[in-house]
Amino acid sequence: MSRFDNLEFEESEVRRTPEPQSELERDEHYWLKLADDNRRSGFHENALRYYSRALEVDKSIVSGWLGQVQMLIALDEYPEADLWGKKALELFRENGDLLAGRAQALIRMGDQRGAGELCDAAMQRAGPSAYPWLVRGEIMVAGRETIDHHCFDKAVALAQDWLTPLEIARIYLHYKRPSQAVAWAGKAVAKAPEQPYAWYVKGSCELNLNLETTARQSFKRCLELVPNHSDAQRRLTELTVRPWSVGRILGRLLGR
């Protein structure tokens, strides 16, 4: 936990992103900030592009390489993420977060053993980073082990950012466990109710659980925060024109 996390600033001051005056001011930090903003909004394609721009300015930024690997995973491009993780690890040998990134790519491809080995190595080297714990939890979810929540709790304890529970929710959603995902998405929303992406993921989890009313509310909330959020708009339209389904009706009757 950072020392200044709980300091209170004026709202306008916090929200303001300093616009660079010239091309020269657009340094690697500017691109990284842009990438992070896009990532937090769920625009992974844009975030990937901005991470690349940051690396064009300075190739020694580990977070840039890590961000690229994580965005490739978020975009379901696992073999590419694995390959890029390997390349990054050639440059930053034994970097814990990059090892964890590769482990996540491998576990998404089904290589449980390889992922476990890489994650073990990441845990030894990463330091106070939450990401290896997140990946460790995902490996446990993939292996249908019951102690995954310990890893996720540890990750949340290390990084008290709203994105961490949201990432956990997305992991559960990936492994088709929406009931657990919705709980984590709820935590993310509770932490940052002003974040449209958190509402969007929560809505997706609820949609997976056939909780149409609450899903509609979540997507609407997301659209209130960002009126042109195309994904939320699409989901809401899908919900409205959703065809009739026996399974869904049964799900409702059974209280799912």
């Binding site: 190739k59 020694s60 440059l91 930053f92 040998r93 034994e94 970097n95 449980q112 053993r113």
Partner: protein
């Protein structure tokens, strides 16, 4: 100079971090920073195909192999790397790969010599013996690589048995099955003008018979009151389906034209035999290599109905075409 990866303070001028080995001159290095991307088609294919399941199966197989290797290693049966395992298919290849060229040459030479000899005498007792020795040389070459370090006699025996089993299932049983379909050895039992008793002939059971080819037939025991005293016999196909056939005084006419074809033993042929049209899926073969008995009088030429009955063979009664003689070696060569 601080390492961007582990934050270790290195001495100025170093190229790599003293703690983690990361490159310290990355900031100015010429590197492609655009990651590889999956095309839309690739992503769609990955979604449609059971890619994840296939990957899981592949990784599970790999893990299973590693676990088995550990287990076998603990039990005293070391399992080599996949690159060597593949080279077990050819005797001596793994030795060449491991740098043992003299042994590799010895195993490969012995195998090729024995295998070649076995193929030359295929179907005979000597041929079987030589092929058996070739297989044992192959197994020995595998065991020689497996036990590069000292091992007990029990381990060697068990490993030898396992290797023979694996080689048999992986190579020799399928190869043997294929060989007995394409080159089934048949030993001639009786003397005829063409064949001598004891000769070994090769039969291709997958070949389609045509007029002129020698075939191995399995006739029914009785046809039209005629008793055929033979399990199988070899004779020549004289005409195919749809042909008009006339056999008269030792001369064959097919569709009105004289033909040079004749049965294997022309002395045991009927005087006259006429078939207006060979039925579909039948072949005209005069079985002159078998003993035929029936209630007819040879002096009065009553043979036609009886010969007619036994000279038309359904295609499924033909076991294959006889095309090569392997024994005796003095008569080694193709048959016409």
């Amino acid at each position: 100079m601080q390492c961007p990866s582990c934050r270790f303070e290195n001495m100025p001028g170093l190229d790599a971090c003293g703690r983690c080995g990361s490159n310290l001159k990355l900031a100015t290095a010429v590197l492609d920073v655009e990651p590889p991307r999956a095309t839309a088609w690739q992503k769609r294919l990955r979604r449609w195909l059971p890619w994840y399941s296939a990957n899981r199966f592949r990784y599970a197989a790999r893990d299973g192999r590693a676990a088995a290797a550990d287990l076998l290693d603990e039990a005293g049966f070391p399992l080599p790397e996949p690159s060597i395992l593949l080279r077990f298919l050819v005797p001596g290849w793994a030795h060449f790969f491991c740098g043992q060229k003299a042994r590799g040459r010895l195993f490969l030479g012995a195998f090729l010599g024995l295998f070649g000899g076995g193929i030359l005498c295929w179907g005979s007792g000597l041929g079987n013996f030589l092929l058996g020795l070739a297989v044992s040389v192959h197994a020995s070459s595998v065991i020689d690589i497996l036990f590069r370090r000292p091992a007990g006699i029990v381990s060697r025996l068990v490993a030898g048995f396992a290797v023979m089993l694996v080689l048999g299932v992986a190579i020799y049983f399928p190869a043997g099955w294929l060989a007995t379909r394409v080159a089934m050895p048949v030993t001639v039992q009786i003397n005829t003008p063409v064949f001598k008793a004891g000769e070994v002939l090769l039969v291709n059971t997958w070949a389609t018979p045509k007029p002129g080819s020698l075939v191995l037939c399995s006739p029914p025991r009785t046809v039209g009151g005629v008793y055929i005293q033979a399990g199988q016999f070899i004779d020549r196909v004289l005409a195919g389906p749809g042909d008009r056939v006339l056999w008269e005084n030792g001369q064959l006419f097919v569709n009105g034209q004289p033909s040079a074809l004749s049965p294997v033993n022309p002395r045991l042929t009927p005087r006259r035999l006429e078939i207006p049209q060979v039925p579909a899926d039948h072949f005209f073969i005069i079985p002159t290599n078998v003993e035929v008995r029936g209630n007819w009088n040879e002096q009065n030429n009553p043979l036609e109905p009886a010969w007619l009955a036994i000279s038309l063979f359904r295609a499924d009664r033909i076991d294959g075409t006889v095309y090569f003689r392997t024994e005796p070696l003095t008569r080694f060569g193709p048959l016409h």
